[in-house]
């Protein structure tokens, strides 16, 4: 069974540009989560999508947005990039919503802002 896949692996942008990160969940998983992992801060919750709808978002500005497609894959868009957006962005998927559902993570996209 293929795990969660993310692309690209690395992305280099300059301030003010826009970035698009992509995620394909495990087959059969309907929920997709996005996290930002900056050095020393742990995993910060960004967004949660389920069945094509945004279900919850973390304390991030509106320039962080995304969507989930009918095949449950997801995109994270970051507009007007700032230096502090440099981080590892992790995508996770789960079988369904619920406290007893583990989240399975992809290897992440390393976003570097110059």
């Amino acid at each position: 069974e293929a795990g969660v896949t993310q692309s690209p692996t690395h992305l280099i942008k300059t301030r003010g540009q826009q970035a698009t990160l992509r995620c394909s969940p495990i087959s059969g998983h309907t929920s997709v989560y996005w996290y930002q992992q900056a050095l020393g801060l742990g995993l910060q919750f960004l967004l949660w999508y389920d069945e094509g709808e945004e279900r919850n978002r973390g304390n991030f500005p509106p320039r962080f947005s995304g969507r989930q497609f009918p095949n449950y894959s997801s995109e994270l868009n970051v507009n007007a990039l700032e230096l502090e957006d440099s981080a590892l962005y992790l995508c996770a998927s789960s079988l369904s919503i619920g406290s007893n559902q583990p989240q399975h993570f992809g290897d992440g996209t390393r976003l570097s802002i110059l």
Partner: protein, 112 residues
């Protein structure tokens, strides 16, 4: 509210035991534990739901004390493969508010 993990880092010799704690200032519904090795994705270890049950996975077990709003991860007879950063993710409510809030992590190093 981000849970607080302690210790921040711990160094063990192979075969030694360790305990990692995760505390929250708010009531918890569930606690999830993950391990992340350097340069790799976090890997799911276990979930504990409120009710105080203890779970085990090989020589790694965990407890959840909902009254104290804390969870502890126990690593017994540590192996070199246990090295990595351990994160707890806490859930304070379900439904549309469901989300995991992760601690900053505990770096565990197991030496031969």
């Amino acid at each position: 509210q981000q849970p607080v993990q302690s210790p921040q880092a711990v160094i063990l010799r192979e075969g030694e035991d360790a305990v990692i704690n995760c505390s929250s200032s708010k009531a918890l519904y569930s606690v999830h534990w993950y391990r992340q090795k350097h340069g790799e994705a976090p890997v799911f270890l276990m979930i504990l739901l409120k009710g105080g049950e203890q779970k085990g996975h090989d020589k790694i077990s965990a407890s959840f004390n909902e009254k104290k709003q804390q969870s502890s991860l126990y690593l017994t007879a540590s192996q070199l493969s246990y090295s990595g950063t351990y994160f707890c993710g806490t859930e304070m409510g379900g439904g549309s508010n469901y989300k995991l809030t992760f601690g900053k992590g505990t770096l565990l190093t197991v030496n031969p």
